[in-house]
């Protein structure tokens, strides 16, 4: 255990993943409330294509991912049910992105070894520069969410009502998609394109029984996310397992624990 505390890369991994998961909390709440998990997944898949194209033309993977994730998020948010169901459209776009991203990455001879890293993350390889990047992005996302909170919440509770009454704040909705895309971009190195949505989805879902207000749920989600990261790393270290997936498992374990405890308490409570 002593070497766990001494290894610099583990500290960087714990801090980076913790910050990322914490920033995912409030955004993830809206993903849950507005049932956007599927959209988030497709955005993340398109992010993989962005990373691949970034490598192809020689820009940083984070920039490529962010750019394509933003575009994908904007396109998907315009999807309506008029010609084909929006969910089908979103799913098709996302999987096209995943397939094309995989093909482009395979064609780039030099990065063949990193394919797994793009899909499941490579959190132990986080550099100090990555850490600063994640911290800056995370703070930006949290600040943005605080500023957009009221219009976003209004939209999450009664989207059609707000739109009909001229309080739909489309600008806030667009900004929210951009923030989500940023999390996806920075999450690529931490948990990868296949698991980033787990960090958006599981901590808020775990937080639900603990909260009676939207803000309470966001705070708990932030906390649970921040705790899952080091918890997962600890588990990964003990079992010599891959780090990114272990953090997702840790979040899932917290989810199960909290919901189980909640169900038990509900039984014990006098009726």
């Amino acid at each position: 255990m002593s070497s766990f505390l001494l290894d610099g890369f583990l500290w960087r991994a714990a801090l980076g993943a913790g910050l990322l998961a914490a920033a995912c909390g409030p955004v993830g709440c809206f993903i849950l409330w507005r049932r956007l998990a599927y959209v988030g997944e497709s955005v993340a898949h398109m992010g993989l294509l962005g990373a691949a194209l970034g490598l192809l033309i020689g820009v940083h993977a984070v920039i490529g991912t962010a750019a394509l994730a933003v575009v994908a998020a904007l396109v998907m948010s315009r999807a309506s049910d008029r010609t084909i169901p929006a969910g089908t459209f979103v799913g098709i776009i996302g999987h096209m992105g995943l397939a094309l991203g995989f093909i482009v990455l395979s064609l780039l001879e030099t990065v063949r070894a990193d394919l797994l890293g793009y899909l499941f993350g490579d959190v132990l390889a986080l550099t100090t520069a990555d850490l600063f990047g994640i911290a800056a992005m995370g703070l930006g996302v949290l600040l943005g969410m605080a500023l957009l909170w009221r219009p976003l919440l209004r939209n999450a509770v009664g989207g059609a009502i707000a739109a009909a009454e001229g309080k739909g704040s489309p600008l806030a909705q667009t900004a929210f998609l951009v923030l989500t895309a940023l999390l996806v971009a920075f999450g690529l190195k931490v948990v990868g394109a296949l698991l980033i949505v787990a960090l958006l989805l599981i901590p808020p879902a775990a937080a639900r029984p603990l909260a009676r207000t939207p803000e309470g749920m966001a705070l708990w989600a932030t906390l649970i996310g921040a705790v899952s990261a080091p918890l997962g790393l600890l588990g990964a270290y003990a079992a010599d397992a891959p780090a990114g997936p272990s953090m997702v498992l840790a979040a899932g374990a917290l989810f199960a624990l909290i919901h189980l405890a909640d169900a038990l308490l509900a039984r014990l409570r006098p009726h």
Binding site: A156, V157, A164, P214
Partner: protein
């Protein structure tokens, strides 16, 4: 374009629609529908299921795009009660907080009191409400911000019978109090028609339009709802013809 913008030219008109055409695939939902809602009037939209009532409301509210023009009075404040409303169960929010998102705290509490929602219910979770309670809360939310135009899409579905009469009475009072216009979709013909200033009967196109008395005598109304439902609207009329000729019978009574 300029000569069609009725709502901007005439001061009493809150919202006006002209020549709306909307179709989903080959199915024509709205076929050349024009209407205007004035300040201080209750307009009730009736029509069978699938006749385009909700689509028409959505077009007026800007939630649905279609051919034709919709013009609104400048700065028109709308209060909307949708037919369906189900926030996600994963969103923890109390009734009071829900109203606070749309109007001031004091106005929200006052509106809840008027629709018969007590303080304890105000502190309950929105997702834990019954259908009738939710209908009351939605009405309270819509009136809390004192709108110029209330758009109510079957607002009292699930409310008990006693509450229904009270709330329709409240809606009529609000019209006078806020001097707002009210556009109402309802299937409670017997309750609603007596309080409506104007009734619009929609079956993809506007079949007939006018006050309750004239609409129930209209052949188009009778064809849609049957002569019995027309008679049921006026229980105090004595039906001497026993439905043999409903339209004729109604006319006779008017001469009494």
């Amino acid at each position: 374009m300029a000569d069609t913008q009725i709502a901007e030219r005439r001061p009493g008109i809150l919202i006006a629609a002209e020549h709306l055409r909307f179709s989903a695939g080959r199915l024509v939902i709205l076929d050349d529908v024009s209407l205007a809602i004035h300040r201080g009037e209750i307009v009730t939209l009736i029509g069978p299921n699938g006749s385009g009532k909700t689509s028409l409301l959505k077009v007026l509210l800007g939630l649905l795009r279609c051919r034709g023009t919709v013009t609104r009075q400048k700065g028109l404040k709308i209060g909307y009660v949708p037919q369906q409303f189900a926030p996600d169960l994963s969103l923890p929010i109390t009734v009071n907080r829900f109203l606070d998102l749309f109007a001031g705290k004091a106005a929200g509490r006052a509106a809840l009191a008027r629709v018969g929602i007590d303080d304890a219910t105000g502190e309950r979770q929105l997702s834990a409400l019954s259908g009738g309670e939710m209908a009351r809360v939605l009405l309270a939310r819509a009136i809390a911000a004192k709108p110029d135009l209330l758009v109510l899409d079957e607002p009292l579905a699930g409310v008990d019978i006693a509450g229904e009469a009270q709330l329709y009475q409240l809606i009529a009072e609000l019209r006078d109090e806020l001097s707002c216009g009210i556009l109402l979709v309802s299937h409670d013909l017997h309750v609603v028609m007596g309080q409506s200033d104007r009734i619009i009967c929609l079956n993809h196109h506007i079949c007939c339009e006018g006050d309750a008395k004239s609409v129930v005598r209209d052949p188009a109304f009778i064809a849609l709802f049957g002569s019995r439902s027309a008679l049921a609207l006026y229980p105090h009329h004595h039906d001497h013809t026993h439905g043999l000729s409903a339209a004729q019978g109604q006319q006779d009574h008017d001469h009494e």
